[in-house]
């Protein structure tokens, strides 16, 4: 939605700011260098494949302006669930995608233990709550989660270089303190894995149904709430 006044202002400002220099040559050079590093390192081990996937993730995040921090903060702070709905769609897609990958890789649907090792299933308990609250507070103060701030450093948002130091320190303290948490909470917490109780396809379908329901709740909340109305 735009108007005459805005169109005029845009034209005026665009005239004042001629783009000084194109960034495209740098992009071509960096892409070429990363492809060279990839082809050299792929002969040693598989890690460079993960690096490539990471780079593609970064490009997707930057172009889509996707932000996990905003998705969980905006519903409460400004009453908008547009990004939360995007996250829910991403979860639906990945639930279906993971099911396909897991089925394809084990071949036989009966071997749940193999799925368990493949799909990193961890214990859930009080430590999840404590960790989530700590991460949530940090994420909102820092203005982005782990993926978001790394992407913005690349984009040139200077504030988030400070966040990088905090992130490194936090990761260090987390690793250092892990044994403590493991002893008092994590080792005692149960590991919940739905396919242990129901069939794997049913677990997938139920999870998708719950996510779709959450999507509609988010949509309803977006229209219904009157936080920050102008």
């Amino acid at each position: 939605m735009t108007s005459k006044a805005i169109e005029e202002l845009k034209r005026r400002r665009q005239g004042e700011f001629k783009k000084k220099n194109s960034q495209i040559p740098y992009a071509v050079i960096v892409t070429a260098i990363s492809l060279i590093i990839y082809t050299i390192c792929i002969k040693l081990n598989h890690h460079s494949t993960f690096w490539m996937i990471g780079l593609l993730f970064g490009i997707t995040l930057q172009r889509s302006r996707f932000c996990f921090a905003a998705s969980f903060r905006d519903p409460i702070l400004v009453g908008s669930t547009a990004i939360l709905k995007a996250i829910l769609i991403a979860l639906i897609v990945s639930t279906i995608g993971f099911t396909i990958v897991e089925y394809a890789s084990i071949g036989d649907a009966g071997e749940l233990d193999k799925i368990r090792t493949l799909g990193q299933v961890y214990p859930v308990g009080l430590h999840t709550v404590i960790g989530a609250i700590m991460f949530g507070i940090g994420m909102v103060i820092a203005g982005g989660c782990a993926s978001g701030f790394l992407m913005r450093i690349g984009e040139g948002f200077l504030l988030q270089v400070v966040v990088l130091f905090g992130f490194l320190m936090g990761a260090l303290v987390g690793t250092w303190q892990f044994e403590f948490w493991d002893k008092i909470l994590i080792s005692k917490a149960p590991t919940v894995f739905f396919p242990d109780y129901v069939d794997f396809p049913i677990a997938t379908i139920v999870q998708v149904i719950v996510l779709v329901a959450l999507y509609y709740v988010a949509d309803w909340y977006d229209k219904k709430n009157n936080i920050m109305v102008m």
């Binding site: 805005i6 169109e7 202002l9 700011f17 547009a82 990004i83 040139g156």
Partner: protein
């Protein structure tokens, strides 16, 4: 028709949105708010919010990583 400039450089999300909200409350109908930002999250969440509230909005990228969002108070 006044033009109001709002400097949100180096401000992380959601500060630009909160500042814009505060400023828009003081403005008259037809006034244009120019919000300068270098946080790409603002493009998404300020623009979405303004659209939802029914005002006119658009943005341009002046330099790489520097945007101006134009908001016209419509009601």
């Amino acid at each position: 028709m006044a033009e109001v400039r709002l400097d949100c450089m180096y401000e992380a999300c959601p500060i630009p949105l909160l500042k814009a909200h505060k400023k828009l409350q003081q403005m008259e109908i037809g006034d244009v708010l120019i919000l300068e930002t270098d946080h790409n999250c603002s493009i998404k969440n300020v623009v979405d919010w303004v659209k939802k509230q029914g005002h006119n909005v658009d943005y341009i990228e002046l330099n790489e990583g520097e945007w101006e969002i134009y908001i016209e108070k419509a009601k």
